[in-house]
Point group: C2
Chain length 128, copies 2
Amino acid sequence: MKIYYKQIAGLFKSLADENRLGIIFNLADGKKSVSKIVEETGLSQPLVSHHLKELKHNHIVTTEREGSFVFYQLTEPAIIALINLTNQLVVELSEKGNIFSTQASSPQFPFSAMMGKMFEMMNQQKES
Amino acid sequence: MKIYYKQIAGLFKSLADENRLGIIFNLADGKKSVSKIVEETGLSQPLVSHHLKELKHNHIVTTEREGSFVFYQLTEPAIIALINLTNQLVVELSEKGNIFSTQASSPQFPFSAMMGKMFEMMNQQKES
DNA sequence: TTAACATATTAATGCTTATCTATATATTAA
DNA sequence: TTAATATATAGATAAGCATTAATATGTTAA
């Protein structure tokens, strides 16, 4: 599979901001108007608008106008799962990288195991 | 599971650069000295050193000195799988987001299906 | 039309970052 | 010690980005 470094970097750039992550998680339970997002995130209206523009530019969200409202929704809701997965990775990396990390969380399903299973799945699919 | 927005954003920031992605993929086949990375990526030595510092800061790589060489390796090699997964997401997002995208790639195993399976796995684990 | 509301944009600010050149530090060999 | 090599850092530059305040645009209702 071809690797689109530039596009991947662009997507990660979109995800590399706390406020944008907050907006994405806010959209996890379905489409919302800008004002609803503003209300629920506590961010200013121009700031939310600015970040939504960035998210739209990378196709992370799509829009549809209804009257004077513009509704935003996640193009691919499973992006939430990707972020959750990254959250798990972050936890494990900081444990491994930290010599003084005393108690390892030893999760039920560590990042590497999940990734391994996923690639098993993909390979099974290819062979069938 | 608690979501560490700030740390996730930090990790994504590390991944949000083409050259750093190149370095990470270059490390996919095991640990390498800085000069080897310089040679194989074609980037300047100070630039590689700079990016490695950033990657190390977010625990994406770890180091060990051997003589005058410093070897870098991926803390969690499965991070490659995360990036590959994101590559798949990027492809699908640009298809969905693009009205004029004529031919959908309709991959054997789309992003959402992989994520769905993964969460099934995690839930099975929890119940057992 | 005007008023009220929803959203987007613009301009300005300060902060961060990618890159280069030059130099410093660290290690080994002679 | 000095020379050679490996890596890191410092300074400079330019570009990008997050944020705010103010304003513009778009939509609906009266």
